[in-house]
Amino acid sequence: MAKITLDNLAHSYLPSPTTEDDFALKELNHDWVDGAAYALLGASGCGKSTLLNIISGLLHPSQGRILFDGQDVTHAPTAERNIAQVFQFPVVYDTMTVQDNLAFPLRNRGHDEAYVAARVQEIGRMIGMEEMLKKKARGLTADAKQKISLGRGMVRKDVNALLFDEPLTVIDPHMKWELRTQLKKLHHDFGHTMIYVTHDQTEALTFADKVVVMYDGRVVQIGTPEELFEQPEHTFVGYFIGSPGMNVLPAQVEGTTAQVGSQAIQLAGGYKAASGKVEIGVRPEFAKLSQTEGLPVTVRRIEDVGRHKIIRANFEGHDINIIAGEDDHVSADMNRVSFDPARVNVYVNDWRVAPEGAQSVGEAA
């Protein structure tokens, strides 16, 4: 296992990229800590698979370096990197048995049969497929095949990192939970560095210690699930994480108030007047509907989703969502909304700005 360092890394699929838009993956510096579980989260086409393929060596970056434990492997071929990867669709060698599948990477590296057999048994037990070792891989279910691909990756002791490229796409919903749980357990027990690409926020948030959110070829925030929830650094993070996502309203911010339309919203800190696109963001969880308190709002629809109610409303011409607890009473005469000032973030050109006097980003969270 190793620490993986990305140094000024960027990639473009064009032969001679000129503007920043030409890059599928924009310049990036990051350390993947040894033994941590990361999720790479983003919408389709945001560059997360590109990044994964660069790490695994299936793609060579157009600029920058990639280091494993300080050693430059930018141009090293995949096989030399000792990376394991589980793909979106199960890749197994159909004509082989399960145990031959697991043994394949070891045999290719010239390990002796006694070692291979012992290791295959061990991995078979780890992925819970001991009974099926003698079976042909063809005809197994998709989740069993994904376990084999995972096992093929872990069978090598010197594996630097396990990469997952949306591995649960073709798995039945009820098996997804089981596989994810098993994956977490494997991570907990064996401590491989894991990087897990997904566009599913639940998958990302439940799997990872740290979630890397990507948007339009750029890493917009790296943080724990709590940080992403409480203090999205970019409006995309706010919108993408959470169900429904954060309310983002265009505003004029000066001092401790944000002016949205004709209404003034109280902020927790003081802000300098900023130029450009200024918005405030507040999660539906931190908005409250009531009869008396707050600013006027027009309720359009209430959706009861079981655990809570989602109130779709209109505030100064903008659609907003408010979440009320399942037991909270919502009545027709509730037409006021209040926002928790500490939870209102200010964004300039989509990026969060800290209030004046605040030390660092992480502090409020």
């Binding site: 995949t78 990376i83 979106q88 082989m96 063809r138």
Partner: protein, 289 residues
Amino acid sequence: MDKTVNQKAWFLVLPVLILVAFSAVIPLMTVVNYSVQDTFGNNQFFWAGLEWFEEMLNDDRMWGALGRQLMFSGIILLIQIPLGVFVALNMPKKGFWASFCLVVMSLPLLIPWNVVGTIWQIFGRVDIGLLGHTLAALGIDYNYTNDPFAAWVTIIVMDVWHWTSLVALLAYAGLQSIPDAYYQAAKIDQASRWKVFRFIELPKMMGVLMIAILLRFMDSFMIYTEPFVVTGGGPGSTTTLLSIDLVKMALGQFDLGPAAAFSIMYFLVILLISWVFYTVMTNLDKREG
């Protein structure tokens, strides 16, 4: 649930039955009819029973033709299948050159069979043919009209030239359907080129290859036009394959009875071998599953 029973629905399949009857069943039955009768002209026929079949089974000429036919089909399968796969593996995967290769490869398949025969007949001639003349100029004794070996080489090379593309195109289609992830996984697993072929490409191509083998076997077993145009079955009867022999017998000598018996046995042999092929290969497929 009650099913509606309406026997009149059978009338809907009638057109197909009539078509098949006229195109296949009735012609085949006339052959059966000839095979069990004898005639001395005057359109008078006499019942002969299985006499012709017995005669043909004891006829060295038919066994000789069958032997040559099996050898021919065997050789061209042994060459065309591996060669076709090899070509498919080396074709560009996408872009202009992929389309270019596909078009060029399809060309031989579009040429009428007797034209293919004529091309090679002229190509191989020692006096005016490019191939024959060149070989002769190099001092190689090549003459397909009097040397059985040269004649065999010519018809085999011709068939390989004509039909390898079909195998290659089918194999290529099989290869194209393999997702990239398989190759990437193989790289990660440090699989050698041979192992990639053996454990990824070959298994994924098995289905189309089975079709290719079956098609090429049936076609080659029934081949007539091309070798007939090139060698006419000669020198002697060294390249007389089954269908050439059959036509000689039926139309050259007008031995309708024996020729009919021959045809039926010919048909049964093709049916039998194809069935064996198919069964063996589908069973292999199942056992692997």
